[in-house]
Symmetry: C2
Subunit: 297 residues, 2 copies
DNA sequence: CGGTTACGTAAGCTGAGCTGATGCTTGACG
DNA sequence: CGTCAAGCATCAGCTCAGCTTACGTAACCG
């Protein structure tokens, strides 16, 4: 019978690509991971890995084994969840990850509700970009986290994660009120404007570029800002245009015009596959859903 | 994350009922099993076991955990199967369990075919009573085995095992030709006869008693014989009547009359859940199916 | 009430698996 | 095309998880 710890290393290697990264994720030395994967391969009796340049790549058999490993790990996660439910559930700590605007809007409401209903629960919030969420969940640095799911940026579903829908927001084009908006396709009308987008590497950045590309132009980027309040302030000051989701526009500063786009931003609550029945995870998901409903009401 | 070895011990405890039996199945000392289960309970944080007399019983939480364990173990078995397929499959040894009449009739045909098609495969046949099959499969003393599935003796499906149908046979009442058979319900006509049944504890024994009970009488048992050739010989000698399945009556000895009953004996090929895709297991199942078709043709 | 059966605990030993050091191969860079 | 850093594999050595052995205790049985 295969060793689950080794299977987990193999699965993480499939994601992370290098033994060094896996070892770091597990706080082992690379040597230990190398030895364990060698042992796994030995008892499998088939080549699972092969050198590819100075890294290692999985063979097709290795990939197939990873798919089985996902099933095993999800089942173990589910077992953990029922145990937590049996314990009364509300003990321990839950680490929640969210993007900044949610931390400002949804999280406070949800945290207050959770603290009231489950006083034993220790909640720990981490602000991070959605692109880093999957790794953080898989690496067990987070238990619950918010993800974005733009229709224009398809993201392939991660077999190690599960999620439920939370929000469906309109995305606005924020323009200076002085800007001549001709009423046609709002994005095209801003094709020559100075753009304010997220810093490269963030999801916001790729979404903005992608939306412009679909509208048939490449935006001239003048500013990078991840904080939407900052974006709105820049827009109000007449320094450019940018995309702002519904959640981030509490009260827009004067001098900003918001034009709704067809682009929508969907937010999902993600967690490790199998942990959905964990009472603490389930409570967080419920609380976030209630908070979303309240904020949007 | 829970330890799979410990989960396996818990699952086996759920089946076997005592730590001593589990320890024997794993060739450990009872002490080791006790310690491991205690550790599992400690890291679970919930009571999984409790003393019941001088044995231990699972709490409801323990039972729930066992159900998760079944999923985990089946997934690991499936992983093993794909690895075996990647290896080329035909290596290693397959241990086949079967009841005596199948060993005489089906197995030789199947073994010849398997040896021809998969020369690398080492086949090991064990004769055993179907009642012992589930334990032997779970305990990994067998890989593939034949089970009976009588409609009149319902057997609850084992979550750790999977199976496919193989045979559906008529069961005959074997009577001395001198016996006055009145043409009515054959079993009732034999209610005052001397009965030849299997030794207590075997499936044949319980099936015979059960069939008689359904016919409204309790048979007077004169002989215990598990070998159907022996049963037929006794019947021919006028020493009693007995039930004989179709597979066991090659050419009945003279002086024996066979009356078909409505009772049917269904045979299934069983294996550990998840191992069905193991190429060696699949090859055995196919070969047994072909042998069954050939023998019945 | 002894005898047997079964589980739990204590003490001690062994090997799986970790770290740290070293060497080899690959790709990048001037 | 030489040099350097990144990355993996291997070796030696040590530590602790987990086994066995030994013993104590509670429950059923005659």
């Amino acid at each position: 019978m295969l060793d689950v710890r080794r299977l987990r290393l193999l699965r993480d290697l499939a994601r992370l690509g290098t033994i060094a990264a896996v070892s770091e994720a597990h706080t082992y030395t690379p040597s230990a991971v190398s030895q364990q994967l060698a042992a796994l391969q030995r008892e499998a009796g088939v080549r699972l890995l092969e050198r590819a340049g100075r890294r290692v790549a999985l063979t097709p058999t290795g990939e197939a084994l990873v798919r089985h490993a996902e099933v095993v790990l999800a089942a173990l996660e589910a077992a953990d969840a029922t145990l937590a439910a049996a314990r009364g559930g509300l003990s321990g700590t839950v680490r929640i990850g969210a993007y900044p605007s949610a931390v400002r809007t949804l999280l406070p409401t949800a945290l207050v509700a959770l603290a009231r209903s489950h006083p034993g629960l220790h909640l720990m919030v981490t602000e991070l970009d959605p692109v880093d969420v999957p790794d953080a969940l898989r690496g067990r640095r987070l238990d619950v986290a918010l993800l974005h799911d733009y229709d224009i940026v398809p993201v392939e579903p991660d077999p190690a994660l599960d999620s439920t829908p939370l929000l469906d927001e309109t995305v606005y084009l924020a323009l200076p009120a002085t800007h001549a908006y001709d009423g046609a396709d709002p994005l095209r009308s801003a094709r020559t404007a100075a753009w304010i987008v997220g810093t490269p590497g963030t999801l916001c950045h790729t979404v903005a570029l992608h939306a412009c590309e679909l509208a048939g132009f490449r935006p001239e980027v003048h500013h990078h800002a991840d904080d939407f309040a900052a974006v709105l302030a820049l827009v109000a000051a007449g320094h450019g245009v940018g995309l702002v989701p519904q959640l981030a526009v509490g009260q827009p500063p004067p001098g900003v015009e918001l034009v709704p786009l067809t682009v929508r931003r969907r937010t999902r609550v993600a967690f490790r596959r199998g942990s959905g029945d964990h009472p603490a995870v389930a409570a967080c998901v419920r609380a976030l859903g209630a908070a979303a409903a309240a904020v949007f009401a």
